[in-house]
Amino acid sequence: MFDTLTDRLSGTLQGLRGRGRMRPADVDEALAEIRLALLEADVNVAVVRRFLERVRERSVGGEVTASLTPGQQVTKIVNDELIGILGTSPLDIQFASKPPTVVLLAGLQGAGKTTAAAKLAQWCKSQGRNPLLVGADLQRPAAVEQLRTLARSIDVEVWSQAGEASESGDTGDPVACAAGGLAHARQAGRDVLIVDTAGRLAVDAELMTEVAHISDAVEPHYTFLVVDSMVGQDAVATAEAFHSTLEVDGIILTKLDGDARGGAALSVAEVVGRPVAFASVGEKIDDFEQFHPDRMASRILGMGDVMTLIEKAERVYEQDEAEAAAQRLVEGTFTLDDFVDQLRQLRKMGNLQSIVSMMPGVSDQVRNAEIDDDRITTAEAIVLSMTPAERVSPEIIDASRRARIAAGSGTSSAQVSNLLKQFTQMRKMMGGMMGLGSKRRPAGRKAARKRSKGAGRAGGSRTGGGGRATPKGGSRASKPSGKPSVADIDWDALDLKLPGR
């Protein structure tokens, strides 16, 4: 997604961090780096220029806060500006009081409108709605058939013109088709109507007029511009044209599971002035989610998508189990049995790659590396081939035990010792983190230890220089109350970094 942009910005701002004072030259240097990063991420040239002007103005023009270092200050400004463009909160979809709620999808050819239409229908179903899809793309051969096939898999009805596109080029009237769909939705009592339209170029005046007519015929509550996240500079021209024709309410960003840097999201959101509403993140019909601009901004700034990670974790983890495991983890009594438990939970959260990409402070080599889910299976097999005694105290594993474990798990001795080495290192490190107090926080190592003991579990954990995460008031053990919000996070503290070599 925005990974590479993230890396670049965190690299730049890392350099600013730790300097006592920020000189105008520093700001310019950082801005030059940010400019390149944004351009390489496909943010439009003009958008970049405006963005940098705003950041420069705010950076040099003051807003000096005593509590922030210059680096943190620029980070905050860039973050604020990014959020400002992407939208401060996810678009709240309000279903019309007088159904059906009409949604119109438009965009260039190949942006992914038809797939997005089916995915959106599935999302509406998950919200307890009863959608009807309208196949008004009579241009592309078999587009309606594609929509029908997708809709069949999620059990949603498709309305389209009978007869469909003929080979002679007489493709039927999409306006009448859409209007017919609306009438049918009213009649059949469908409460959401999703209209898929043909892909069209912004420069094609005739087709732009046609889509305007479709819009007039169905009077959509929401008009979404479907944008491919791989699009480059042209995103602005396209967005401008569609916005002036249709008054776009939001953006659906597709193919976000690719490795495109996705700067188009910034360009389009800036031009249209409306947030990215949904993101399509995979080939499966469920790989579609509401877009969280604030999270994306923090992701751009190298903070990882912690909120999504936490949400996912909360969905799969057994609360008590997790607490117990976490406690053992910080106490240093985390065994290989716990490790296997964690592995299984981890697997429930989805594929390893996507989890890693959400973690803060992860370098781009890791993000881009092909992470095979088989590694979970392999690790699990190794641990399961150990005796209970070995799992509790892995140090008793000698060469012969190792050979037995390798044979039992179908791996090699080297793989076994590698896992053990990393496990031991990790356990030591987690233990060490409890011991080390914060340099910045007044509570020293004793206090930190005492605090965590007193609370019965450890929360506040910090390493030296590395900057290990801790929540504000981390020692307070409380049940999670409702959905966590971004505002509750101490962003500075969340600059997670494991102390490695």
């Binding site: 690299g11 890392q14 390489e40 496909d42 439009n44 040239v45 260039l108 190949g110 942006a111 051969p141 587009a143 058939e145 594609q146 929509l147 997708l150 596109a165 080979e167 170029l201 420069v203 491919d228 791989m230 699009v231 480059g232 500079q233 042209d234 021209a237 396209t238 044209a241 599971d257 690719g258 490795d259 495109a260 912690v306 936490i310 909360e314 983890l329 490790f339 964690q342 390893l352 989890i355 890693v356 370098s363 080599q365 092909e370 992470i371 896992l419 990393q422 990790m426 987690m430 579990r457 929360g459 954990s461 929540p471 020692s475 409380s478 999670p480 919000s485 509750d488 494991l498 490695g500």
Partner: protein, 367 residues
């Protein structure tokens, strides 16, 4: 936000770290971008066709007018932007203008910097003092960089008896199926017997879409069931084509994002199978959407690695996008752009013409 949730995250972090090794979780040291851009070395990769005489299947020379008129829309804005530049003596504003023009056409930061660096040298060498001349020198330099052999191979080199296969690859939604339809129409019009292979067994109704095109141009379509192994569909098509003595097989593949390793492996297998007797892959054409930004380079690298791409088809150039990414792809990776898509009609496919392309991209007249 509760302590517990943070601890859970930490636990995940730890588990993942154990799996991946602790080392990677360290911020990459800041990499400074400095020094001049690397020297530009255009590489021509495609070897000359085995039989020159029998060459370009697409012998019909595209009229530059068609190419240029298709690009009219993309040309206008850039011409306007450069108009103000051309009138002045070159100064820093001129250079910034040129930089923005190239960046705005999706040429990309690295290629833009390298191109302008060369232009600065040229300008100094030739003592260019006029902004208009500078723009012409830039156009000339870009045309020179686009010097790869872009002829389409009717038969696979060194495999003359085999049935030639043209494989079409690319990410989702770039226009692979439409391009096959148009290529099929063009080859059929030239009197060739064409077999199409419905290798996109993933996307719903992709086969129906290709069937429509096959019917339009009188080609035969070989398809499998939805979800079938694309390699087997392609193999069937090649066998059928060989049995019938068809001239060429056009093989469609499902769109796939280049970072999906398993899907890229699948594609590599499709290519291997297509290259097996009685068939031989003559062209592997990477289809790139003109609106694509810098991800196009990543696409080109990944697809070239997986399938040994022999050429690029640039689609949707009739829109407002300039398709500057293919300049980067050809000049940096040496993959020649061979065909250009300018619309949805069967005839909206022309050979790539570097002169018209550069002219349209910069909005200047070719000499």
């Amino acid at each position: 936000m509760s302590t517990t949730t943070v601890l859970i995250v930490v636990a995940i972090f730890v588990v993942a770290t154990v799996l991946l090794g602790a080392l990677p979780f360290v911020h990459r040291a800041r990499q400074r971008r400095s020094g001049p851009a690397p020297p530009h070395t255009p590489v021509a990769v495609s070897p000359p066709p085995a039989q020159r005489a029998d060459e370009p299947v697409a012998a019909k020379a595209p009229s530059p007018a068609t190419f240029a008129s298709g690009l009219a829309s993309s040309r206008r804005t850039l011409r306007d932007r450069l108009a103000s530049i051309s009138r002045r003596r070159p100064d820093e504003t001129t250079w910034e203008g040129l930089e923005e023009a190239l960046l705005g056409a999706d040429v990309g930061v690295t290629t833009t910097m390298a191109t302008l660096e060369r232009l600065r040298t040229t300008a100094a060498d030739q003592g260019i003092v006029d902004a208009g001349e500078l723009v012409h020198a830039l156009a000339e330099g870009m045309r020179t960089a686009l010097d790869a052999d872009r002829s389409l191979r009717a038969i696979a080199p060194e495999r003359e008896g085999a049935t030639p296969v043209w494989l079409f690859v690319g990410v989702n939604g770039v226009g692979k199926t439409t391009t096959i339809g148009k290529v099929g129409a063009r080859l059929s019009a030239q009197g060739q017997s064409v077999v199409m292979a419905a290798g996109d067994t993933f996307r719903a109704a992709a086969t129906d879409q290709l069937q429509t095109w096959a019917d339009r141009c009188g080609a035969e379509l070989i398809s499998g069931s939805s979800g079938a192994d694309p390699s087997s569909v392609v193999h069937d098509a090649v066998s059928a084509a060989a049995a019938r003595g068809a001239d060429v097989v056009l093989a469609d593949t499902a769109g796939r994002l280049q970072n999906r390793k398993n899907l890229m492996d699948e594609l590599a297998k499709v290519r291997r199978v297509a290259d097996r007797e009685p068939g031989a892959v003559a062209e592997t054409l990477l289809v790139i959407d003109a609106t694509t930004g810098q991800n196009g380079l990543s696409q080109a690298r990944a697809f070239a690695e997986a399938t040994d791409v022999t050429g690029v088809v640039l689609t949707k150039l009739d829109g407002s996008a300039k398709g500057g990414i293919v300049f980067a792809i050809e000049s940096e990776l040496g993959l020649p752009v061979k065909l250009v898509g300018l619309g949805e009609g069967p005839d909206d496919l022309v050979d790539f013409d570097p002169d018209s392309y550069v002219e349209a991209l910069l909005g200047v007249d070719a000499d």
